[in-house]
């Protein structure tokens, strides 16, 4: 049937997909298409009307839509075909993509390379097993943000926020600005999940308390949420009896983590890393299926969109080489997350050129020493004034310091 043949199909028109598409075009790859399920490209940025985007990349503070627009404008200038309102249903290992849309009907596309840029989704109430009743008024931060910023719908008047992820912090401020009362942000960990600047600008500036080592132990109400019961937790994250405190509220916002959205990756038989929830990739951002690449939040959840764009651009350069040569340099050297490091990307490297590692520490460290070891010897160590789990660390690794093919291990103390 009507099979569309392409050099490269990019799934997802958010920051990663757009950046990849633009860089591919700039590298001379003409025959590409971006598949985007929404009416407009831009991804989650479209609902992020707060500022702070682009500080690294553009040295100015942009809102989400403004940041997205910089890429969209370029994509339009470069005449990059955007199949909007089109949902990819399946990616096959042979790089056939099945998609549907109102306008184009049932689509079968095949490409020499596929870029997975589907982003991430939010962890839900059910996923973290919150107890209680199931009233209206319990929603994830992203859904709340979409209702308020895109749909012009006000979700409540009295809120508690569970989880101090960045979107939760942003929503604490957003709700306050719209006249709602935010009683507290509860965080089960002993440290905040979001960026320090968001703690300052979204909580401290508005006098919203951040209760560390706290969680929700009951949700009450039949129709609409009536109250939640919060409790302090011990070192094993179990509630401390007697520490319960009831908050009367009509809204509970959950900001309890993001999960790379890899359903399509699984249909292609791509191997995932249980720690990141994203694909296992080499330094070219190529997955376990040759010719299928992955970058951005679908690969691992980033702290800043600037790095999503950068990662996608690096990916695009590899894809361009892949399309030109039909293959990429092999990456036989494994990279492992050692003690103190929750994950490190990429999973394998070639050892023949400089790569930038992305990693996160398990716990706040001040100061922090990151060490890369190979065969028992230290090949690189770098000291940082501090390191937080919320902030991704980027560590350039020069080819010269890698010896042979034995695995590298990255640790943090």
């Amino acid at each position: 049937m009507n099979l569309m043949e392409k050099d490269c199909i990019i799934i997802g028109g958010g920051p990663a997909g757009l950046a990849a598409a633009i860089r591919l075009r700039e590298a001379g790859v003409r025959d590409i298409v971006v598949i985007e399920r929404e009416r407009q490209a831009g991804g989650i940025l479209r609902q992020c009307i707060h500022d702070g985007f682009g500080l690294t990349r553009f040295q100015e503070s942009l809102s989400g839509p403004e940041y997205a627009w910089r890429f969209l404008e370029k994509a339009v200038d470069l005449n990059i075909p955007l199949l909007t309102e089109t949902t990819a249903l399946k990616v096959c290992p042979d790089k056939t993509v099945i998609a549907v849309s109102r306008r184009h009907g049932w689509l079968r596309l095949r490409a020499r390379a596929v870029v997975l840029a589907m982003g991430c989704r939010e962890r839900t109430r059910g996923a973290i097993g919150l107890p209680g009743t199931r009233p209206a008024g319990v929603l994830t931060a992203g859904v709340a943000q979409s209702y308020i910023n895109i749909h012009n719908l006000m979700i409540g008047r009295d809120a508690v926020i569970l989880g101090s992820g960045d979107i939760g912090l942003i929503m604490a401020r957003r709700l306050t600005l719209e006249g709602a009362r935010v009683h507290a942000v509860l965080e089960i960990q002993p440290h905040a999940g979001g960026l320090p600047r968001n703690i300052r600008q979204c909580l401290d500036d508005y006098g919203i308390p951040l209760l560390l080592e706290h969680t929700v132990v009951d949700i009450r109400g039949t129709g609409r949420l009536e109250s939640i019961l919060a409790a302090k937790v011990d070192a094993n994250r179990n509630p401390v009896p007697g520490s319960e405190r009831e908050f009367r509220c009509d809204t509970l916002i959950l900001s309890v983590g993001l999960i790379p959205e890899n359903e399509l990756s699984l249909t292609a038989g791509i191997e995932l890393d249980p720690r990141t929830g994203g694909a296992i990739v080499d330094e070219h951002y190529q997955t376990s299926v040759p010719g299928i690449f992955s970058a951005g939040n679908v690969l691992h959840v980033h702290d800043l969109v600037d790095f999503v764009s950068l990662e996608a651009e690096t990916l695009a350069e590899s894809v361009a080489v892949f399309l030109k040569n039909g293959c990429l340099e092999s990456c036989p050297i494994a990279l492992k997350a050692g003690s103190g490091v929750s994950y490190v990307l990429p999973h394998t490297i070639s050892g023949t050129r400089e790569v930038t590692l992305s990693l996160r520490v398990r716990e706040p460290l001040k100061p922090c020493l990151i060490t890369v070891r190979q065969a028992g010897g230290t090949v690189l160590s770098r000291r940082f004034a501090k390191a937080l789990p919320a902030e991704m660390i980027h560590l350039p690794l020069e080819a010269e310091i890698v010896n042979g093919r034995t695995p590298l291990e990255v640790t943090a103390v």
């Binding site: 399920r37 309102e85 949902t87 249903l89 549907v100 849309s101 109102r102 306008r103 184009h104 009907g105 049932w106 989704r121 939010e122 839900t124 109430r125 059910g126 996923a127 973290i128 097993g129 107890p131 209680g132 009743t133 199931r134 009233p135 209206a136 008024g137 929603l139 994830t140 992203g142 859904v143 979409s146 209702y147 308020i148 895109i150 749909h151 012009n152 719908l153 006000m154 979700i155 409540g156 008047r157 719209e178 132990v217 009951d218 039949t222 129709g223 609409r224 509630p239 009509d250 359903e263 249980p274």
Partner: protein, 483 residues
């Protein structure tokens, strides 16, 4: 005020089955339901099993009606166009003690007329389901799985299409004789009827008293569940039950749903509050521990949701021993058909229960056949279940099939619209969910809930403050952010 021939109190699976069976006759029938949708109580909060009937006391209504309704369910599922799979069931055993209990159930089942029960060895188990634990099992080929929401909705829609009138969000407050008819007082006005049928499920004891038949004690038997991701359900094709406990009940187990998820549960505890669907932290911990022993994929990465259901058990007020279903008409209570304590296997037995209620009514008043009655009903076509050729054709015929609204469950705009335009005029978010599976997947509506609420507002002409999640008062919005 117009007078109904029959008013049914309660829109669970029983009320709707009775309505559907009564529409075979020329009657003016109304159904009163306190919630904004049908099937929101015990009918929708269970394991979704079509039970075979091997664990109910021989001679009981539970046994008789379960076996009767089980036998006809393939035809019923076809008539009502509802998903159903006769999977069979394995009750596994490890020890000789287990074997004795399984043989006991087999004997009871055979007495009840359950077809095809057999004890099978490990070799046969491997042929049926290699993943099942245990050294031997009782195999029950007539057990199956169904979607309890869709079955209840289908019964309601079929009754409605045959002329039954539905009054949702009408909570019954009181009832009294008025000459030869009864007045039923609801939160939204009064109704008159010659017959009132109590199908109030969890509230059947209270409604019975309201109808002048006091003295029934209903105990709430609560069970909590985890819903697991479809990935956890891959390859699990048959419900596998652990060996029964010495008291005859089953410990926490893992059951595949007709949609491919897994349910882990239920635990079991008594509750006095028949409306308390709280899932407690302690119960969740218990389910994680007990469920983990039964099912290796009982892990947080597969958690989608948790919920509680309550079974209305009619109990002897003195001994508090559970009693059988009560389905009766009485000389001293003219115009009333009383159904009390219809709990598990109520979902399985619903149509047999309904026929019995109709027979009782017919012994007191001749019923005239409705020649226009049709037992057939069409459900909403599921795009996700169609083959490629059908999907292509659907999109060509109607572009709304080309717009995926729910990504996780692959539900299209066409299906969401069909659900919003449902014949019962249910306009809640959960109404759409239970009809289409949108928002039931792993992102729990993170992607699609916002557009579904927009579609509800647009289609039903509702203001933001009028949109309900499910229950009365479950408003989603306080208004617009900006005028």
């Amino acid at each position: 005020m117009e007078c109904f021939d029959v008013l049914i109190i309660g829109g669970g699976v029983i009320g709707n089955a009775v309505a559907r069976e009564l529409m075979r006759y020329k009657l003016r029938l109304g159904l009163l339901e306190k919630e904004p949708d049908v099937g929101t109580g015990a009918s929708g909060r269970n394991t979704g099993m079509l039970h075979a009937g091997f664990s109910y006391a021989p001679g009981s209504l539970r046994a008789k009606l379960c076996v009767e309704a089980n036998a006809e369910f393939d035809r019923v599922a076809r008539e009502l166009d509802v998903p159903f799979r006769r999977t069979g069931k394995l009750v596994v055993g490890f020890t000789e003690e287990d074997r004795a209990r399984l043989l006991h159930y087999k004997a009871i089942g055979e007495q009840n007329g359950v077809p095809g029960l057999e004890m099978i060895d490990r070799k046969r188990m491997d042929a049926i389901e290699p993943a099942a634990g245990g050294n031997f099992a009782m195999y029950s080929p007539s057990s199956g799985i169904l979607n309890p929401f869709l079955y209840t909705i289908a019964l309601a829609e079929n009754a409605h299409a045959n002329g039954a009138e539905y009054f949702l969000e009408h909570e019954v407050l009181d009832s009294r004789h008025e000459g030869r008819v009864r007045r039923v007082v609801t939160t939204r006005g009064d109704f008159l009827a010659r017959w009132v049928i109590n199908c109030a499920g969890l509230h059947s004891g209270r409604v019975s008293a309201m109808l002048g038949l006091p003295g029934h004690t209903i105990g709430g038997f609560k069970g909590e569940y985890f819903v697991l991701d479809k990935r956890a359900g891959e390859g699990v094709n048959i419900p596998i039950y652990p060996p029964p406990r010495p008291d005859g009940g089953f410990p926490t187990h893992a059951t595949p749903t007709i949609d491919g998820n897994m349910l882990v549960g239920p635990n079991s505890l008594w509750t006095d509050d028949l409306t308390d669907y709280t899932v407690t932290r302690a119960s969740l911990a218990e389910l994680i521990e007990d469920g983990g022993k039964m099912f290796s994929r009982m892990k947080p990465e597969y958690f989608i949701r948790n919920f509680a259901g309550i079974r209305p058990k009619r109990m002897d007020p003195a001994t508090r021993r559970p009693l059988d279903f009560l389905i009766e008409t009485r000389d001293d209570a003219p115009g009333i058909v009383n159904l009390v304590g219809i709990e598990s296997p109520g979902l399985t037995s619903a149509l047999a229960v309904a026929r019995m209620a109709v027979r009782l009514l017919a012994t007191r008043e001749p019923l005239e056949k409705n020649p226009l009655f049709t037992p057939l009903r069409k459900g909403i076509l599921r795009f996700a279940d169609q083959d490629e050729t059908t999907r292509r054709r659907l999109i060509e015929e109607n572009p709304d099939y080309g717009e995926i609204i729910c990504r996780c469950e692959c539900v299209t705009r066409a299906e969401i619209l069909a659900a919003i335009r449902n014949p019962l005029e249910v306009a809640t978010v959960n109404g759409v969910k239970n009809r289409t599976r949108a928002m039931m997947g792993r992102c729990q509506g993170g992607y699609c809930q916002t557009r579904i609420t927009e579609m509800i507002m647009e289609e039903c002409g509702k203001a933001p403050t009028e949109v309900l999640l499910g229950k009365p008062g479950s408003t989603l919005f306080t208004g617009r952010v900006r005028p």
